[in-house]
Symmetry: C2
Subunit: 683 residues, 2 copies
């Protein structure tokens, strides 16, 4: 025996495992020092041996299974690749440059649609109202400053990542955490839907012919993202830096060119298509409500500000300091882009396309840099950064669901890592929900925005409020200042959340208002279920183990004397001396034949014939089990069913599915165990 | 012990049954003659005791099952009634009066549409061509005479019933039998579809408003017939005589009135709606093909002539003589009705309604007896006799399928009698096919007729040809005359079958031409399958029984130490000393915990820990079973799965269906038996 089994003498199992696996060394020759020969194990491609004598499954146990799943497996491997061992799970640290690109993509990419969505609301009060775009942009940037400063605080307090769910659970209790968690799940789903819709709008701005296919294109992009994430995309790849920086640089350069042209008076004139103007002679009054609606739409641009604070552990040390620097940079870049685009759009008098075929950003770019390759480059960068933003949701949603599942609030499948180490269930669920939104809202950013903003600001508010509570409780050094900052953040974001509910309720926020409490209730119900199960299964209430049941009474229903019956009986006799064959029939003649042939045929098993004048099989058999059960209520009844396995599925139609029906009926029966003895016809 | 167990000492089973059932008598007092007290059996409501010591299940075993099927059962009992014991299976003998009513309904009711269907073809060559109706009717009546005479022969030769399937199988071999059987199955299905369509036409003739609902009405009638037959309608009920005789009498009286009015010149004038005339100015030439098509349509009226000869065993003795007399009467009555209706329709110059809202018969009746209660009576009688005709198919189709299933040509479910002694599968299948035809052909008699006639005449031909072969082989007294009669019958019906194929091929007969060989091939394939299975299962090739397998190796996959795992292990330990618990994990810590807790917990079972770095559970477990199997290839492996049974179905979503997936994968594994240990959470 090797050292492998020396570790834990109390297991027993490893000894057995060795015996079965024939892992042993044999000594050739009789003196010490003679060669040891390791016996070749014919199955060593299936298992390796671990430290404590346990077996470690190799990749082949997953890949090379025979049977009907082989084709399925081949297809799966083709789509998402070969399984990855848990050993390869690891955390790569990000430089600030990389972190900025990856963590800010959600926030930065919002600048592609934030200006436009404000303008779309303002234009309802007429073209003149568009002049409010710039003031509103400045207000939103002020809010950004407050929110960013708040998260600047949070970063140091939660160096392990400051997801609103964790922070709110930690400080306000798990119910508040669930509200934040639900808001974030909705938010992530909408991040995918809105970003992809905006990406498709950026595409149709260049190629208007594809407008008719926008939903199909959007759903296809989501499917590609799902596939990529199931394969286990490493976000840390340098390739993922490209879209963000390309977008930032191209748009900032365009803004620079635009400002220069404005200053020098060389800006070409913008003439909106007259039918757009006609379509948008909106008769609404420019009241407070409309302005608040426009503000709410623009505030959607702030989504993703929290990403840096969620991702603190991914930074190189000192994590919190690097994260803070990155947060400031991200906010500054977003503000520059947003202000620049809004300024140009206002100055040029851009009118949003009522059909949503052309984006405002593409119109601005067309006027400023002309319809040439630079314009196309901006659009391509926009599509890529928006896709990257959607991709961050494909990391965030599954991770948050795995936290929720780990805490028992979501089905535990969400906590399992798939073969490629990705949270498969969460990824597929996100893809499904996002695709549903895209189909229902026809990939329109404007239709989706009212649903988007509320979840974001609710999560902001809960997170900031948690920080307030935390400062108050801990009274650490500088707590007054921290409390003031986070308090301002909480109040600001809370007020905005209320503004969103108020101004966007009819347009779609009502769905989120309903969905969040429903999700919270569902999550609580799920945890209640798991707790009940836990309570029911827990071993504490159970007498100490090692008990061996009395031998079961074995019942073997047989239809006639054939090979399946013989196999079932042989099995029954092998596990119990109390086997009883039961023959239910409505044909007295065959019953007599069976009885006559029985003694020389059936070994120890006894035969009970039940005549069934109503020709039913299952009812009388169950009744017989009841009788047996009443006689010996504490003994387990083992029902042995021989099941015929046809070579082709359609052949099942030619056989009564009695075994299947019986199994269904027996499944709920107390003290009853069903054993299936499959019988396959040899060709 | 009572006398009940004295019969067959070699069974052993009855002794055991008694012991378990506590059937015993105890003597009170010590002297002979003291009272015996029969122990009260708490389960005697479930079982009675039969002669050979077998148990006889009572109705309660079928009715009073607890669990989720109770509601289903209650609904079923509500729909089709309580189960009927096989003891009540019996044959009632029919008087000639009753037999005529029941067995001739199919044939007699055809007179309601035969005239019309001829006229519909003839009118394609213009209104004048309708004058050919009467000559064609006479030709068809001549054919009827030949067919009836042929069956008159058959009746005596096959006193046990002369279904074409049986007669053809008997004389021409099973392949010819299958052709006849397939033709008859199609024929019976079309009998339902055509009769119900004609019945609905008789309804819409009175209430044209219901025309839009004709398909729904037709399908509803079929469903009612199905339900009635599932309940096990006794055709012999006197109530079933009423429609046939009511129809015969009312129509014959109408024909009498019509002839009298024609003779006395008091017949009101018939003026067809001008738009009908316009619609039917058919441009087709009155060629031979058109006449043959009209003849084929009218020949559909001969369906059901064979019913009397099929039903010989139902007659009172002397069966064959009574059947022959009934056959002659049935043919004579049909001929009178058919000739009478055709004569009146021709004389009145009736034009068929191109919309199929009004039947020709109803138009004739309206003219002859006016639009009053007598007209309605005729229509009601028509509806009823047609429904009765459809109902005979609900007896014939399941009976024929049961013959075919008994011989292995159809799925054996068709041979089982349901709880109400009816052939449930056949009844439901017929209902499904007929409803499909009604929906596809929109309950139009004219559309269905081309499919109908071919099957009928193919079955006639095969039946008559069989008789020819039989006469030739047996050379019994009078064989020359018999052979001549059946030969004439075979040739006549064969020629008509060819005419139908020729003239109706495009209109729909092609479907039957394709369907019959397909059905025959399917039936042969089914029998081949059953034979293969039989061969595979048969005991002859197997060493004599009584063998007891070596104890199985028992594998218990466990996820953690909880109550379900304990129960599974307790069961495993109770049936084998070779139980091995297998824990597949990707978490080394829980594995260590499990291992530490194991010795004081698990009785004789050993523990094998398999680390699964790819997080898969099923693959490594199957691989381990492979390893075990390679070590001891001849021992059975019993896999014990503890399966969690949630209280509500939706709770399944919260648990991985690992047990289910494992079962699916293990089902095809050689030498592997799966035992399910369900575990139900107590509230």
């Amino acid at each position: 025996m090797s050292e492998a089994t020396g570790g834990k003498p109390n297991t027993g199992g490893s000894r057995r495992a060795d015996r079965l696996l024939e892992v042993r060394e044999e000594r050739r020759g009789s003196r010490p020092g003679d060669t040891y020969i390791r016996i070749v194990r014919p199955y060593e491609e299936l298992f390796e041996r671990g430290d404590d004598g346990e077996l470690i499954a190799t990749e082949r146990t997953v890949l090379d299974r025979p049977g009907w799943t082989r084709a399925l497996r081949a297809f799966r491997t083709f789509l998402i690749g070969r399984p990855i061992s848990s050993q390869h799970e690891g955390h790569e640290r990000l430089t600030k440059i990389k972190a900025l690109a990856i963590l800010s993509s959600d926030n930065v990419s919002s600048s592609a649609y934030a200006t436009e969505e404000m303008m779309r609301i303002l234009v309802l009060a007429g073209i003149g109202a568009i002049s409010l775009t710039m003031p509103l942009t400045i207000v939103i940037c002020a809010v950004l400053a407050i929110v960013a400063t708040s998260y600047w605080q949070t970063i140091k307090a939660y160096p392990d990542g400051a997801s609103s769910y964790l922070v709110a659970s930690d400080n306000l209790g798990y119910r508040a955490g669930l509200v934040a968690g639900s808001a974030l799940l909705i938010d992530y789903t909408l991040t995918v839907a809105v970003s992809i819709s905006a990406a498709v709008a950026a595409i149709t701005s260049v190629v208007p012919e594809m407008f008719a296919w926008r939903v199909a294109i959007a759903v296809s992009i989501v499917l590609v993202l799902m596939m990529g994430n199931l394969r286990g995309i490493r976000e840390s790849g340098t390739i993922f830096m490209a879209p963000t920086y390309l977008y930032i640089v191209t748009v900032l350069v365009m803004v620079g060119i635009g400002l220069a042209r404005l200053a020098t008076g060389t800006m070409p004139e913008y003439i909106p298509p007259p039918e757009w103007l006609a379509a948008e002679q909106g008769g609404q009054a420019l009241g407070l409500l409309l302005i608040l609606r426009a503000f709410s739409s623009g505030a959607a641009g702030l989504t993703g500000v929290e990403a840096v604070s969620d991702g603190v552990p991914a930074f190189k040390p000192p994590e919190w300091r690097n994260a803070r620097i990155t947060l400031v940079w991200a906010a500054a870049i977003f503000a520059s882009l947003f202000l620049g685009i809004s300024l140009l759009a206002s100055q040029l008098g851009i009118v949003p396309d009522p059909n949503e075929e052309q984006t405002v950003l593409s119109q601005v770019a067309r006027v400023v840099v002309g319809d040439g390759p630079y314009f196309v480059t901006i659009q391509v960068a926009t599509v890529l950064v928006l896709a990257l933003a959607a991709n961050t949701a494909f990391a965030d949603f599954p991770r948050l669901s795995s936290f929720l599942a780990r805490d028992g609030f979501m089905p535990r499948q969400f906590a399992y890592r798939g073969e490629r180490l990705a949270f498969t269930t969460g990824i597929i669920a996100l893809c499904g929900f996002a695709a549903l939104l895209l189909v229902v809202f026809e990939a329109s950013v404007t239709s989706l925005i009212p649903l988007y903003t509320l979840g974001v600001f609710l999560a902001f508010t809960l997170s900031q409020a948690s920080m307030v509570v935390r400062w108050w409780r801990r009274r650490e050094h500088g707590w007054q200042r921290g409390l003031a900052i986070n308090g301002l953040g909480a109040v600001t974001t809370g007020v905005i959340a209320l503004i969103v509910v108020e101004s966007k309720f009819v347009a779609g926020a009502w769905m989120v208002v309903i969905a969040i409490p429903l999700l919270v209730m569902l999550m609580l119900a799920i945890r209640r279920h798991y707790r009940n199960v836990e309570h029911g299964l827990a071993l504490e209430r159970i007498p100490p183990g090692g008990r061996v049941d009395e031998r079961p009474i074995v019942i073997v229903p047989i239809a006639r004397l054939d090979e399946p019956a013989r196999r079932a009986l042989a099995f029954a006799n092998s596990v119990s001396t109390d086997a009883i064959a039961v023959h239910v029939t409505n044909d007295a003649d065959t019953a007599d034949g069976l009885r006559d042939a029985w003694p020389e045929w059936a070994g120890e098993a006894e035969l009970v014939v039940i005549e069934s004048p109503y020709r039913a099989l299952i009812g009388p058999l169950l009744a017989y089990l009841d009788v047996i059960g009443r006689r010996e209520p504490n003994r387990t009844v083992l029902v042995v069913l021989s099941e015929f396995v046809p070579r082709h599925w359609w052949e099942n139609l030619l056989h009564n599915q009695t075994a299947l029906r019986l199994k269904l009926r027996l499944f709920g029966r107390p003290n009853t165990i069903v054993a299936d003895v499959p019988y396959r016809i040899r060709a």
